[in-house]
Symmetry: C2
Subunit: 322 residues, 2 copies
DNA sequence: AGAACTTATAATCATGTAGACTATAACTGG
DNA sequence: CCAGTTATAGTCTACATGATTATAAGTTCT
C-alpha cells in the first residue's frame, strides 16, 4: 500500500500538528456462479482504495474514481460501511493518523473488464468457516473449536475463561446453539484474538502460529470485509438489495442461490418462492429459460416500481428453525 | 493524482497537500420524563463536538473527552453513526474540507451536572411532526401536507411531480398509508428540499419562507439528529439498547413509556409486557413502587446476563397493524 | 422411445406469534 | 365509600412461517 508510507517519509522535516490522512476504501461485492466474491487488487490481499482528495465532491464520488481507475469497474450501489480511525490500526504505530472511510458496493461481474491487477476472490477463501451451505464446514469443529477452547483456557482467571468460552459458543454455535450467520464480525474478532489468523501474528511475538485460518489480507482489510459480510447478511433481510447483484432477468432459483451464497446457508425452496412472490418484489417477464436442464423456469425481473410504492421489507430468509 | 492544486487560497505560503479537518460530533440521547432529549450547547442549536486530535487513541475516546469538557456529561454507550464528508455540507463553500464523524450516545440525565452552557432539548422541538403519541400531530395535516403538495406541484415536469408526491405520501403516510416511524431521515429530507426548514433557506435566495417547521440547528446538525432518531428507532427493535436509557431499576410501564417516547407512538400495554417478559430481558427485583398513584408496580432490572446467553433480539414493538 | 433425473410450481398442514380485547386486582385521592 | 388510576392475567383470532408432499415439464442417457 503505497499511500500510507508516502506521507511519513516526505514530511520528515516539518511535523504538522494534525497529520491526518483520509482514505477511501471499497468492498466491492458480486456473486459469480453462486459464489460471493470481493474485488481485490495486488496479491488478492488488498482492497481498492485511495486518498480522499479535495477535488472529490463527496467521498462516494471519490471512491468511484479510485475503484474505476484501479480495477476498471464502474460502481452502482454504494453505501457507507464504517469509519476506521483508531490509532494503531495499521500495525506499526506511526505518528500519522490514517482514517479510512469504508464503503460497501454491490455490482455484477460481467462488464467485460479483464482489468490489469485485479480479480474476484470468494469471501470464503478469507473466511472458510462462514460457508454453511453444505452443513457446518469441517474447519469449525476440527480446527477452530479446539483452538478456541485452548485459547479460552489459556486465560489466567476463571472469569475470563468462562467469558471466552461463552463468546466462542455463541458466535460459532457450539453446545447445541444455532449458527447465526450475521455474527461474522464477532467470529473474526474471536479468531483474531485467539491468534489464529496471520495478521494477528505481529501482536504476540512468541506465539507459534501453527494454524493460519483463511487467506491473508493486508492491514485490517480482512476485518473490513468481515464487517461488510455482516452488514450485507443483515441488510438483505430488510431491504431489497440482492437485486443489485442480479442480472436484469433471472429465475427464482438463481435469486435463491444468490441469497444463499450471501447468507452462507440453504433456504427452503417453496417458502422462498412464496415470500418473494407475495411481496411483489418481482414480476414475470413472460419468457422462460431452458438452461441447466430440468423443467424450464419462468424468468423474472425486479419490480423497481416497488420502491415508489412503499418502504420495502426486503428479502426475508426462510431459514431452518431450531 | 495531484491533490495539491485544490488547496489554494489559505495556504499562500506553505501549500499543504490535503487541507482536511476531522471533527467528532455527538448526538447524546436521554429520555427525561417520557420525553426523548438530545444534549446541546450554545443556543440549543449546536451538538457537542471537537476536532479529532492526534493524542486521541480512538475517535470514541476523543469524543468522550469533548463531550465531558463541553457539557460535563460522561458517556456510556456509544456507537458510530455516519461520516459526513461532502464538500458543500457546511453551507458556505470553503476551500477546506470538513469531515465529521458522528456518534450516537445513550445516557440518562440525572448525574448532577448543572453544567455551564448546555441543556437537554426534546427531539420533537426540532421535529414536531415526529411525535405521534397523541395521534397524528396537527402540523402534519394542516401545514406539511399542503406545503409538500404545493412543492411537488411546483416541479416543471409531470414525472417529477408524481415522484415528489409519492415520496411525500410514503414518508408521511398520506392517502391512507401507514405512518412508519423509522422514516425520520426521509421526512427531514423532504421538508428540507421543500424549503420548509430554516437551514434550507440559504440555498434559494428568492424563497419567501413563510413557514419554518421546527427549531433550527446550526449547519447540518439537524440532519445528524434526524439520522440518530432513525437509527435508534430501528435499533431498539433488534437490540436491547433501551436499557442504556433506563435507571437501574424501573417498572414495566416506565420502560414502555421510554420506548414510546423514542418511537413516537403508543404501544399496546399487555402485549408489550408479554414481549418483554417472555424474552427474559428483565427480572423482578422483588420490590414494588407506589409512585404515580394506582396499584403499586413491580420493579425490574435489566438482566445483563442475557447478553452472554444469546445474540439478543431487542425490544420488539407491538405496534398497531393495518 | 423410455427410464432416470433435474428443476419448476402448486398445495397443504401445523405451529407460533402478534395484535386486539376483556377482566380482575390493588392502590390513591377525595 | 366511590371514582379514578395503574398493574397484571388471560383469551381469542388472524396470519406468517417452517416443513412437507405432490405434480408438472423439461433434459440426458441408454
Amino acid at each position: 500500500m503505497d499511500h500510507q508510507a508516502a506521507g511519513t517519509r516526505k514530511d520528515r522535516g516539518a511535523v504538522k500538528a494534525d497529520e491526518v490522512k483520509v482514505d477511501l476504501i471499497a468492498v466491492v461485492v458480486a456473486v459469480n456462479d453462486s459464489e460471493p466474491c470481493v474485488l481485490t487488487i495486488g496479491q488478492a490481499d488488498t482492497l481498492p482504495s485511495g486518498p480522499f482528495a479535495l477535488e472529490h465532491r463527496s467521498p462516494q464520488s471519490g471512491l468511484r474514481g479510485w475503484v474505476e481507475q484501479q480495477t476498471g469497474h464502474p460502481l452502482g450501489y454504494i453505501e457507507q460501511l464504517y469509519t476506521f480511525a483508531d490509532r494503531d490500526r495499521i500495525g506499526a504505530a506511526r505518528q500519522q493518523r490514517v482514517i479510512s472511510i469504508s464503503y460497501l458496493a454491490l455490482t455484477r461481474k460481467e462488464q467485460a473488464a479483464g482489468s490489469p491487477k485485479c480479480g474476484w476472490q470468494s469471501w470464503y477463501e478469507y473466511f472458510p468457516w462462514e460457508d454453511h451451505r453444505s452443513g457446518t464446514p469441517p474447519v469449525v469443529l476440527d480446527v477452530l473449536r479446539p483452538r478456541l477452547i485452548e485459547w479460552a483456557d489459556g486465560a489466567s482467571d476463571a472469569a475470563t475463561r468462562r467469558e471466552r468460552r461463552q463468546r466462542a459458543a455463541i458466535a460459532f454455535g457450539f453446545d447445541d446453539r444455532h449458527w447465526n450467520e450475521e455474527l461474522t464480525l464477532q467470529r473474526y474478532e474471536l479468531v483474531y484474538e485467539a491468534g489464529l489468523v496471520q495478521e494477528a501474528g505481529s501482536r504476540r511475538d512468541a506465539t507459534p502460529p501453527p494454524l493460519v485460518a483463511g487467506k491473508f489480507m493486508v492491514a485490517d482489510h480482512r476485518r473490513i470485509v468481515a464487517t461488510s459480510i455482516a452488514r450485507l447478511r443483515s441488510k438483505i433481510k430488510y431491504r431489497p438489495v440482492v437485486f443489485e447483484l442480479m442480472p436484469p432477468v433471472f429465475t427464482l432459483l438463481q435469486l435463491q442461490r444468490t441469497v444463499e451464497a450471501l447468507s452462507g446457508r440453504l433456504i427452503n425452496k417453496p417458502n422462498f418462492r412464496r415470500l418473494i412472490e407475495q411481496q411483489e418484489l418481482v414480476e414475470k417477464t413472460g419468457e422462460t429459460t431452458a438452461e441447466t436442464g430440468g423443467r424450464p423456469a419462468q424468468l423474472y425481473r425486479f419490480r423497481h416500481a416497488i420502491l415508489d410504492e412503499r418502504p420495502v421489507a426486503g428479502t426475508k430468509l426462510p431459514l431452518t428453525r431450531a
